[in-house]
């Protein structure tokens, strides 16, 4: 049923991917975010990742809620299907969309406000269902679009531009996702494209729920001294655990496994993740240990990044549901409607 997308126009000299698309073909409309907003860097990382993944843009659906972060699907992959839902409710829309068509790639973009206050329930339950999607939280500790109120991810003691420091415990989406059974959980930083791009690629290729919580400073409302989500603070306090490289299917893996610090994980489509331990003590396959590690660092103000938990064996949404391989929306009517004879027979049971 689906068609191979043909790049609209050649850009001579520009590198193209296996499908013949240039990076431009994965770009979107002009951003209307503030100059310097972390979200724009994540947008750029998404463009790069999708380009490198050799995905036909129209086979991607990009969905979001409401917020500055949630606007970004308009700024990447113009040739994909976009969906700007209501505040905090993107996960349910992806759930339905994925139920209808399991073969497309789904990327959801959300904010810390969108996912941790109004949308925390839908976020938690999408995790629980191991919905096959990449879920990006563009985490800036504030509600950008409504002008800088603290969000639920604001750290204890973080200072606002004016007023008193935040006194409520933060809700950490990474912690939540790991403890609620997510199969792929990472944290990154909008300023670290090298780390982010391979994570996005692996997240898309992972068969199940992949969360990347990306610290993404809000230059207008939360990038000052005393903020714990500023560029400066994040750069100063980052602790990388495991660095991920993504190797597409059938591409040779040229890495030295000798040292024992690099492992390779095969994803369902035949691609590989190469996991390089930056902190040798870190294990990405023990939920409790991961949480404990992250919490201990957090208590000291450090931001733990990298692939924090991974389980490639957990059955995703459709596997759990036992759905057929063919996307439900493509099933012909005669496979759905039992017809008049079956009905007549059924009616006998109601006598």
């Amino acid at each position: 049923m689906s068609h191979i997308a043909k790049p609209a126009a050649r850009h001579p000299g520009q590198p193209v991917n296996k499908l013949g698309f240039s990076e431009r073909d994965y770009e979107g409309g002009m951003s209307t975010l503030c100059a310097g907003c972390g979200h724009d860097s994540i947008t750029a990382a998404l463009v790069k990742a999708f380009f490198e993944l050799d995905i036909e843009p129209h086979r991607v659906a990009k969905l979001s809620g409401i917020g500055c972060s949630s606007k970004t699907p308009a700024y990447f992959l113009s040739a994909s299907h976009g969906f700007n839902s209501v505040h905090g409710r993107m996960p349910s829309v992806v759930t339905g969309a994925n139920a209808a068509e399991r073969s497309m790639a789904y990327v959801g973009v959300s904010g810390d406000g969108d996912s941790l206050s109004i949308g925390i329930g839908q976020f938690a339950h999408a995790v629980r269902r191991n919905l096959n999607m990449l879920y990006i939280i563009e985490n800036n500790g504030v509600y950008g679009l409504t002008k800088g109120q603290f969000s639920a991810s604001a750290d204890l003691g973080s200072k606002p531009k004016k007023g008193a420091p935040n006194q409520l415990s933060p809700i950490d989406p990474v912690n939540m996702a790991i403890s609620m059974g997510a199969s792929f959980v990472a944290r990154s930083f909008s300023g670290d494209k090298d780390q982010l791009v391979p994570l996005i690629k692996a997240g898309i290729r992972h068969d199940g729920f992949a969360l990347i919580d990306v610290i993404s400073p809000c230059v207008t409302f939360n990038d000052h001294d005393g903020s714990t989500k500023s560029y400066q603070y994040t750069r100063d306090n980052i602790v990388e655990t495991i660095h991920t490289d993504f190797v597409p299917p059938r591409q040779e893996i040229t890495v030295d496994f000798a040292s024992g610090e690099v492992t390779s994980v095969r994803l369902h489509d035949g691609s590989h993740m190469l996991l390089k331990k930056v902190d040798k003590a870190y294990n990405a396959d023990d939920r409790a240990a991961a949480i404990s590690y992250i919490q201990h660092h957090q208590a000291e103000g450090r931001v733990v990044t990298g692939l924090l938990y991974f389980d490639g064996a957990e059955p995703e949404f459709h596997q759990v549901s036992g759905t057929c391989q063919e996307p439900l929306r493509d099933l012909p009517h005669n496979e759905l409607c039992p017809g008049s004879e079956a009905l007549a027979k059924l009616m006998k049971g109601y006598r």
Partner: protein, 600 residues
Amino acid sequence: MSGHKVNNFVLKMANVNGTGSASANGLVSKAIFRMGVPMSAKNFFPSNIQGLPTWYEIRISGDGYRARAGQVDVMVAMNAQTYKRDVAEVCSGGYLIYDSTWPWDEQLSRDDVTFIGVPFARMASEAFTGSRIRILMKNVIYAGALAALLDIDMAVIKQLLKDQFGDKQHLIDANHKAIALGYDFAKENFDCPLHCRLESDSKTDGQIVIDGNAAAALGCLYAGATVGAWYPITPSTSLMDAFAGYCNKFRSGDEGNRFMIIQAEDELAAIGMVVGASWNGARAFTPTSGPGISLMSEFIGFAYYTEIPAVLFDIQRVGPSTGMPTRTQQCDILICAYASHGDTQHVCLYPANPEECFEMAADAFDLAERLQTPVFVVSDLDIGMNEWACPEFTWDDARRPDRGEVLDAEQLAAIEKFHRYLDDDNDGIAARSLPGVHPKGAYFTRGSGHNKFGGYTEDADEYQEVLDRLKFKFNEARHRVPAAVESGAHDGEVGIIAYGSSDGAMIEALDRLKEQGLDAAYLRIRGFPFGSEVQKFIDRHEVVFIVEQNRDAQMRTLLMNDLGVRRDDLVPLLHYSGLPIYADFIVQGVLNHLQQRKTA
């Protein structure tokens, strides 16, 4: 009660819930039905799981009336907690059957009612062992006694037990034994049958007994719905249970399930899932009740504005708020029509019985996809959860789903450029594309301001242009929803409008009014927005009543708003106690009003 009531009386069982009375009661009503005698059965159950009073009322009506009768002829009083009100409810000349294991409190007796004592509990404990089995069998024993007292065909009962238990011979045996105990005791001790009794007939040939929720689920199955998302809520839960049952039967196989049922975390998520699935080209639906509609409001407005199909079943229960979850009302008429902030209007269908639940469920998907908008099937607890006798459902194999204006890959390839909200053919509907089908079909869906090309806008004119088309589209919908149906008198002065589950009472009321010399016309509304037939009906009659099961005459508001009818030109007859409306309420309401008019 004067004279014999053959195939024409009301039998009511008073039980305690959680004691397994449902199967004994179902056995009795099904047996009557299989004897060819029209019946319908209503459950009055509490909002808890075990230990509270519950009633099962069987209306046996040779004339085929399906509404609540408003009186009881034979009461099986199995619950001592409610003896007092159960005795009071029996009509003069009627019967009350009670458990004589314990002495009857003479204070509760009435002269004009015959009291029939059967030692059910004692018989059960003598004949069976185990406390659970004794409780269950006590019920079957009274079914047996009723068989004797009302002259129910024992062969029919036996066949029913066989159908129900299949090869579980020990269950069949136990039930036979219990039936026989009750039957024999009654035969020996009382003058059987009573004045109220049954006689085999053939009036239920070609009929089935089904509840509206199962019927709606079947409609969804036949319409090709593949995604169902829901959050449990009484009285809509059984709709999804039934859908799951049908899917398991008809859509499971080695290659996996050809359906996906998602128990959502709440109603906000359930409707979000429906919106997501419909956007992506599946037929998707959610069943819920009033509180769910309130919670879904934001998303309903989103679907209206972004023009995404969605099918919602509102199985109405008593509001406001949590209200009485196990009682019936038609109190969500307004919210279904206008749910959400901003200027929004929604297409609604109003089934009156299970057969229409089946049909309208299927129609709802066609309408939602054709009109690209949410469509509500506004049912209620009475239709949804009670057992109605109705004609066997049929399906036209030539029928194909109307998927509306959806451009396929070929069509997309052929056009210059796709614009999501451009209405090329001036029918108010803009063609849509499905994600992933063709590169040219990509577009951006947003609940924020958008222009006809699908682009984001904050421009006054561009915004307004889309909003005006939506209004135009809604207006066109009136030609597509099921038309109102008229019956009764053709040239009288009095017209009565009703809808949904009031239909049974209305049909009966019309007959009664006729007996009293009033030949009224009856218009049953089946869809919103309204067709011109509704306006014509109102214009044609001097007095027009509107019968509703809510306090605020909500359908009247829709009529005022949509047709321009003046409020006081519609006389409301409003029944909103939570019990289903009955004919006499309407008859009295009509006659009283006409009387007042005369004297005024």
